[in-house]
Symmetry: C2
DNA sequence: TGCGGGGTCCAAAGCGCTTTGATCGCGAGC
DNA sequence: GCTCGCGATCAAAGCGCTTTGGACCCCGCA
């Protein structure tokens, strides 16, 4: 059932039927009702390719899912982000075009997707501190929103990010307040922009409190459970082991906890853990009281908002590029306590202390 | 840069340029080279919409990601499956069109996607034992592959599944061999086809060994860490608690373990855990020796294969519908041991015993 | 010398839609 | 009574590609 057949069925021209269905004013209300009824009855849906060809729009948004050729890992936050964005797309009548791309042919793929005209806009995932995708996309003229930021980028671009630096700065201060002096940072891949910001927050807090940053306590890799486990196992075996871990994801934190359990180290009595929590649907940080003390920000909500930003950019290309930074909460769970042997001074509250802005 | 411009640039007709680029024989080799060189130089990519309109193919595969309106949960295996399928699509020049759909308007959406002609085929995720999507899709004539099976479906359809029943039957036998008599099953949502098959395998093994199935030990829900934790916490508090847990995912198993830790119950000394392991990239079951004894099957590999099946169906619509069942491994980890107080009889080996076929 | 037949290339139709620029009545205004 | 304006509808062009049905040239064969 296509437009021509529908028009023939109704004894109208394609023009009128098209206009009736797309809400144009120059068609009689009675005719519109007749057309709509027939379209419903005959289960007519416009062919999106033809519509796209005629309008120049595809009603589809591209997501490029980079898959590290070394690690073969897709970031688990991805599913939740997509779920959030997908809700928004559905509401606006957009489809989501997903490409899984090995990082070595990423550049080619971005150029392709623009030239093939198969999407009206793009979401850029997992930006690195220095990321040539930005320049590449800017050249294509395709609207895009970055989930995260690109520190080395000087020209403006649209993004949605959380304040990673501030979140990890607060978390570190919190641990220091509890008397911890040796705090390990189990971070994401070192090239990732978010990982750098988190590290900077951590370093800033240590510096502000006059504590040395021990490079041995800072680790970066793909955020897997195994990585958390191996790192904690190794660090806890040091002569001067950390008394607290700051991890970049709940999954890593679970690995750290497993290592602590294996070593007979009790959490939070002997070891404190603070983690970032993306609020993944299937991996909540406890159902009532949080299991882990965590910096918290819903990646699904981020997906919803990023999609909305992009829809806005497409609808109104003239506007300035939207840039948005969300604040992460710091929630108190049962994974943190005073450093072993530390007596809390009444002056320094162990509750999440507000930072100077 | 479109075909017309490219043809003009070369002083050739669109016909010839199109044929040159698509590998048709009736174009001189020297011309083909000229055309290809110019296409590369001018960064020409055919507009996929136009190509689709002309050929009737879209070069895109649809995945519909159902999101339960009650739980708001997307299945974590999804990302890995997509990553696997995406590799195959990329190799065949296909795109992946993803729709996130709340289960209440699933039916409408399946009808839509067929009528809109925006994909050449579909992958059906998370099938239920009784799933009207199958009949719906069959009516549309669109090729589709089900990841899993639909027990109540009588007519043939293409699917890729693992032998869930046999996997859980083996796992249960294995636990019984270790002397366990009270074995809890922490399963996925009761409506899911895979959950039913796993339960049937579990029940079959109990029955084969003359053990009663205690309904109190069988739980079904979304496979979250919290669910595993809450279930284990409750069951372990029973007057006659289980000595072993059989769980449907690594994440659930981690919840069970957390409950055991919290209750001071040692794994595997006081409690054994066997889980199904989808081999998710970021959540490996240990890097060398498995943490958990597990039935194991890579969902990423399943994605690759399902995609290949679908590509085959599209390329050759005449063929009979492919149906494929993969066997899951049973791997030995450090989460299982003899039931407390049980002396292993030398006759019954605790290693994964081959079942009669 | 004439003719059939590859080997190359081309003009134009068609895919299903939107949109431009008419056309056609019909009542209002002079 | 004629024109003007307007509401409702339509024919046809065009989006960028593929594909059908020639056209043209040149070579070899009778």
């Amino acid at each position: 059932m296509n437009l021509r057949a529908l028009a023939a069925e109704l004894g109208l021209s394609q023009t009128t039927v098209s206009r009736a269905l797309n809400g144009y004013p120059e068609v009689a209300e009675s005719t519109r009702r007749r057309v709509e009824e027939a379209a419903r009855r005959l289960n007519y849906r416009p062919d999106m390719r033809a519509k796209g060809l005629a309008t120049g729009r595809t009603m589809a948004i591209g997501h490029i899912l980079p898959v590290s050729s070394r690690h073969e890992i897709v970031n688990p936050v991805f599913a939740d982000f997509i779920a959030g964005a997908g809700e928004t797309y559905a509401r606006h009548g957009y489809d989501l075009l997903l490409s899984v791309v090995r990082d070595e042919d990423e550049a080619r793929h971005y150029r392709d997707v623009a030239a093939k005209r198969s999407v009206d806009g793009l979401i850029v995932h997992a930006p690195r501190a220095e990321d040539r995708r930005i320049a590449l996309l800017r050249d294509t003229g395709l609207p895009f929103v970055v989930h995260g930021r690109v520190s080395d980028e000087t020209l403006p671009y649209a993004f949605l990010d959380i304040d990673n630096r501030r979140a990890f700065e607060r978390a570190t201060h919190f641990l220091i307040d509890l008397g911890h002096r040796r705090i390990a940072l189990v971070n994401g891949l070192a090239s990732m922009d978010f990982a750098i910001r988190r590290r900077n927050g951590y370093l800033a807090a240590l510096a502000a409190r006059g504590l040395p940053a021990d490079p041995a306590l800072i680790r970066s890799d793909e955020m897997t459970e195994s990585f958390g486990f191996a790192t904690a196992r190794d660090l806890l075996a040091l002569p001067d082991p950390p008394t607290a871990f700051l991890t970049s994801s709940l999954i890593v934190a679970m690995g750290v906890r497993r290592a602590a359990d294996a070593a007979g180290i009790a959490v939070p009595r002997d070891l404190s853990i603070v983690t970032h929590d993306d609020e993944l649907a299937y991996l909540r940080n406890g159902s009532d009281e949080p299991i882990y003390t965590a910096t918290r920000s819903s990646v699904r909500e981020a997906g919803r908002r990023a999609a909305e930003m992009l829809m806005g950019m497409i609808a109104d290309p003239g506007h300035p590029l939207p840039q948005r930074i969300l604040e992460a909460d710091l929630v108190l769970g049962r994974s943190t306590g005073p450093a072993p042997g530390h007596v809390l001074s009444p002056a320094r509250s162990p509750s999440p202390a507000p930072l100077p802005p």
